[in-house]
């Protein structure tokens, strides 16, 4: 039943309208002109160039000649579509418009609720932060204006933080601000705090000692593929996963490779929003090291029962309790989306999938047509 297109559309609409009002008010004009392949010969991936290290993965994959050649052999073309935040992709990862996406934890859950997807690997494991000016505890945010990216993992961290202080969204004023603009908005005083993922918190903290991180919540990013794409093109999916693992291996292979990947990501981000990133490659590299390279066994998704998925499950329950997810939705629906086998298959055959063979072109070879 849940696999019926009508049901999926209904679930997506429910999830969208259950989110914060400012999310509905935000006109996603930047994505309105994106052209998705509808012929079945294209592989459209949604990426977030402004999020680190998610942006590094997408930038490397966009330049991965090995992947490009492999997909060409399978008759597929790879196209990457940039988004400001994962929430903008929730109802798009249906195999018809986007075949895959790099998403934060909350968008991953919402996407898994709304669509038939497979969560195939971990992109990062880090924190989303609530950064404030002059405040010491999150309880002091009552009545304040907080910059927020609705439906994002940072949004989830903010909700959890507010809950820990006995507050809710009703006690604060959520202001829709693009993640890249949040540090400037905080410095200008148009907002009193913001919730965001890296690099926005690091940029804000460099603005002065009056800016403080008053709460952090664990957040993880995942690589999600549409289940229909997996069924149609399982080998192409493995190649995409191999490219993803290869990117991780390449970034961990040398300092130069890591810095290169950071510069590519920053360039792609600049191209996306039209203004330079307020960070350096060194700073971006530090974020990547901390959030993925130093995470043991990444990108393998932990199995259920070992404590790995419980955190995501508690997030699911929390969102359901807040009404962000329909009340009759069960965790089992999301749990069923975890697909470790595909990644393990790739890892078992490192030679076959050239996990240690790096062939990247300096220019983007997989940009999406506009």
């Amino acid at each position: 039943m849940s696999g019926h297109p009508f049901v999926r559309a209904a679930l997506a609409a429910t999830v969208f309208w259950a989110m914060a009002p400012e999310a509905r008010a935000l006109d996603p004009g930047y994505a309105a002109t994106y052209a998705y392949d509808t012929t079945g010969a294209g592989l459209d991936l949604g990426v977030q160039p402004l999020g680190y290290p998610s942006g590094m993965f997408s930038s490397i994959m966009a330049r991965d000649q090995t992947l490009r050649h492999a997909l060409e052999r399978l008759g597929l073309g790879l196209r990457l579509h940039p988004y400001l935040k994962g929430f903008d992709m929730i109802d798009l990862v249906d195999g018809a418009r986007l075949e895959g996406a790099l998403l934060g934890d909350m968008p991953t859950i919402l996407t898994a609720v709304a669509n038939e997807v497979a969560i195939i690997g971990m992109v990062k494991q880090t924190f989303s932060s609530v950064v404030a000016r002059e405040f010491g505890q999150i309880g002091e945010l009552k009545g304040k204006r907080i910059g927020n990216a609705a439906g994002s993992s940072a949004h989830h961290a903010l909700l959890r933080g507010l809950r820990s202080a006995g507050l809710s969204e009703m006690d604060v004023t959520l202001v829709a601000v693009d993640v890249g603009d949040m540090p400037a908005a905080l410095a200008a005083g148009t907002i009193d705090a913001f919730a965001a993922w890296e690099p926005a918190p690091s940029i804000a903290l460099r603005g002065g000692s009056q800016f403080k991180v008053i709460y952090r919540g664990v957040s993880t990013d995942y690589f999600v593929l549409a289940r229909s794409f997996l069924l149609r093109h399982p080998e192409a999916a493995r190649e995409v996963i191999a490219s993803f693992v290869r990117a991780l291996n390449w970034m961990g292979s040398s300092r130069e490779a890591l810095l290169q990947s950071c510069e590519w990501a920053m360039a792609d981000g600049t191209a996306f929003i039209g203004k330079p990133q307020n960070t350096t490659a060194e700073q971006a590299a530090a974020i990547v090291r901390r959030e993925i390279l130093e995470v043991a066994s990444a990108p393998v998704i932990p199995r259920r029962g070992a404590g790995g998925q419980e955190m995501l499950e508690s997030e699911f329950l929390f969102l359901r309790e807040l009404g962000k997810i329909p009340a009759d939705t069960q965790w089992s629906r999301v749990a069923a989306s975890f697909s470790r086998d595909l990644l393990l298959e790739v890892l078992e055959k490192p030679g076959r999938y050239r996990l240690a063979g790096f062939d990247y072109s300096p220019t983007v070879s997989s940009a999406a047509p506009r």
Binding site: S202, L205, Y215, A296, S297, P302, G307, L344, P350
Partner: protein, 1019 residues
Amino acid sequence: MALSFGLLFSAALLLLEWVQLFGLPLIGFPGAIEERRQNTVQMLNRLADFKKDQLTRWLSERRANTRLMSANQQVAAALREAKTALAAIPADRSAEAVAKTLTAMPSILAAQRYMEEIRTGYQVFSSIQLLDAKSGRVLVSTPSGLSVGADLSRLPLLERAREVGQREVIVHQGGAVPILSIVRQITEPTPDGGASLLGLMIFQFDLNQIITSSASDDAQSLGRTGKVLVVGADGTALARSPDAVREAGAAIPPDSRLPIGGNEGVASSTGAAGQPVMAAYRYIHIAPDMGWGLVVSQDEAEFLAPVNRAALRWFGFSGLVLGAVLLLTGVVARRLTLPIRSLSDAAQRVHGGDFNARAQPVAPGELGVLVGIFNQMVERVGKAHHSLERLVEDRTRNLTGEIASRVEAETRALRLLTEKEALLSNSMVGIYMTERRVFTVCNRHLEVMLGYEPGEMIGQRADIAYPTEELCREHSQSLYQSLLRKGRAECDLLLRRKDGSTFWAYISGHPMDPGDPKGVSIWMMIDISARKAAEDALAQSEERYKEIVEGTNAVVTAVDAEGRFLFVNEAAARIFGLTSEQCAGRLAFDFVHPDDRLGTIEAFRRWVAEGRANIEHENRQISVDGKVSHLLWTIRTHFGPDGAPLRFTSIARDTTELRKAQTTLRLTQYSVDNAGEAVCWMTADLAILYANKAAGLLSGVSLSHEDGSPLAGLIGNEPAQQWRDVFTALAPGETTTFEARITPAHGKAVEVEVTASKVTFDGYERNCVFFRDIRVRKETEERLIRTNTELEQFAFIASHDLREPLRMVKLYVALLERRMERHLDTDTREFMGFVVDSASRMDSLINDLLEYSRTGRNVTPPGPVDLQAAFASVMTYLRGPLEECGGAIELESRLPTVTGDEGEMVRLFQNLIGNAIKYRSPQQALRIVVAADSADGYWRVSISDNGIGISPEYREKIFRVFQRLHAPGAHGGGTGIGLAICKKIIEHRGGNIRVESEPGRGATFIFTLPMAVPADQLV
């Protein structure tokens, strides 16, 4: 009034304390509690970040270690050989047998040496084991690990560790010794480019090592109640510092749950004992499926303790101040009202007839003059009244005696006269006979009486003896009628002698023929002029007596033998509540107070029985309307011839007010006798008239009232001479206070504070002293001065010694930063920046503290300082900042020359003008005005600006050390010690400093300095 003031003052103090504790959120003043909380939050956050970084780095290093070791070729070779050997050993062989086989293999022994070297070299591993991936048997183990050959194939961990892609698995295990295990895969490449799993290497670590390694540092930062706790996914403690016995099954406290689920932040929570704590919590990623919670907490009671102690000290101080203000207000009020009350009481007593009443003398002043005049007036009125009363009393007594004696004399005279008449009837009485009113016979005595020569009267008409014809006719007619009716006639007549003088005479006669009254009659005449004169005098005397008795305020009564009033004058009637007429006939004892009645009756009976003529008796009288009066009676008993009392005459004085005054006097005397302060009255020659008990105790001399002994015996010769000089210099009515040292009889010198007054009583000059022992106060003052000096020295030395380590901290952090520049990440640079910033700020604080402690410790003697020059000197380096901000400064008048230290005065102007520049208003151009004038022997210098101003509640606070009204970085920063130094400089030079300001209306700092300080008083 005093109470209202006290309450208002108390409310103001409490409000001040409330603001100090809880702040004024509307204007951004956080208050001490919030400030303390914020500081603690900051400290906990920094420590938690540091701990997390420490743990993360430790874990990262250990992972790097394990990655390196698991790639060792000796290990891989051992695994390969062991794999072959194990394949040849049956699966059911015992562990000992397997171990025997393995330990005989050179490659296994080489691997074992390598692993043991690693373990002992790094000293961080509890144990290291090498496992065969397939069989799960231990191939190599360090001595502290499992035995070789042991089968671990059923270990759940092994299944995960064997999984493809799980190059590394990390698990932890709680308990008394918490263990962290890192399991790494050891693979070898396969021909198809893949990798084949050879074995697993297990590294184990003691978690407590890393947590407790910095326990002493933690204790320094976190205090007694602070703790650092590492918790697992469910909140149970894995390790903690300081270490404590973990009770199995103990409930997980709320603060340990904070990081569960991957949260980081800081929150107020509850500790294990249910106590409120402030906790910073962090989440440390260990593996995708595992993380640790880190909780750094401190009990609220501990970090708020300084604030609570300060609040307690403040409340105590407020209470003391309040008590002192109330006491002072009470004393001042009493000093004002006591003389007025005394005056009022004395006036009422005088009004009631007590002319001995006097108002209590007070210190010189308007009240003193008023009291003096009043007492003099009462003195005069009292004397006049006393004289009058004595006069009346004497006169009454005289009159009473005179009347009694006159009555007796007259009675005697009458008796004599009667006897004389009897005699005159024979020879000495004028005898004559008339016929038809013509003298026919006259004896010689008659002729003598009328002044005629013998026989001269014969034949003359009787009319010649009458002074006037009218009297002659009147008497002749009267005598005729009497002779006609009664047959005889007698009367007193005023007669005229021959020489025209008149005299009273008594005549008596009868006709020889009763039927012919006009015929021959015989008459007798007696000269009664003397009796008539006595009778007139008696009448006049009685009249005067009555006037006196009725007019006096003294109570006068006469009572008959039965005790009934014969006479009651008006004063007595007023006492009895009736009129004189109403009193007549009533029993006198009915007006005696019931409590005194029986006693009085008994006394009267006794006195009568004893035959006492004059009695003095005092008793209470009661009027018909119940009013009670004390009367002192003087009673005279009049006895009859038989010795029985005939009547009692009495005079009494109303002593009611006198008795009240006596009671008051006794109370006053008792209070003075037993007062804690020594009191001594002396003559002008300093002979002691009176000294109370305290004076005796202080001097060690037993004294009595009107002792008369010299003052020297009380306080010693030398002090007595000093006091004599003081009294000599005092004018009557003046009072002075001074401190002196007395040497009493017991020989031990005592320091006293003396209040000496000179007054005049009854025309005599009297000296009065109050003196109290001030030894304890003196000792306290000296101790305070000593303590302050020691504190200043301590601050100076401590500040000096503290700066050196700080310089080292900054120096070595800078060196570290330079050397590790290429290796430092952003967080580390940020942390090092915090260290340098904190050290710099602490250096500034200590530097200012040093400056503060130096103030007033100048070794050079003070001298004249031209403030104009000091001002000019300051402006040479403040003119730049002033012009930068577009400000202007105006010197309104020339600044004076004062006594002090030039450096201090420069610092004073630098701080005050510098503050005016720092706290200028962004809305208008800065304008500073400096002016000086003088008043009451002081120079007064003011520095006014049009800056942001200061709220009234902070006018005192800004002069305290390290008190800032703004955020540390605002308005150019600073430590908040500048104004404290200004205050210390000014007060050190005998002046004072204050500020007048309103928010948004600028501020005026005003300081005063003495105009001229004698050289010997220069500090």
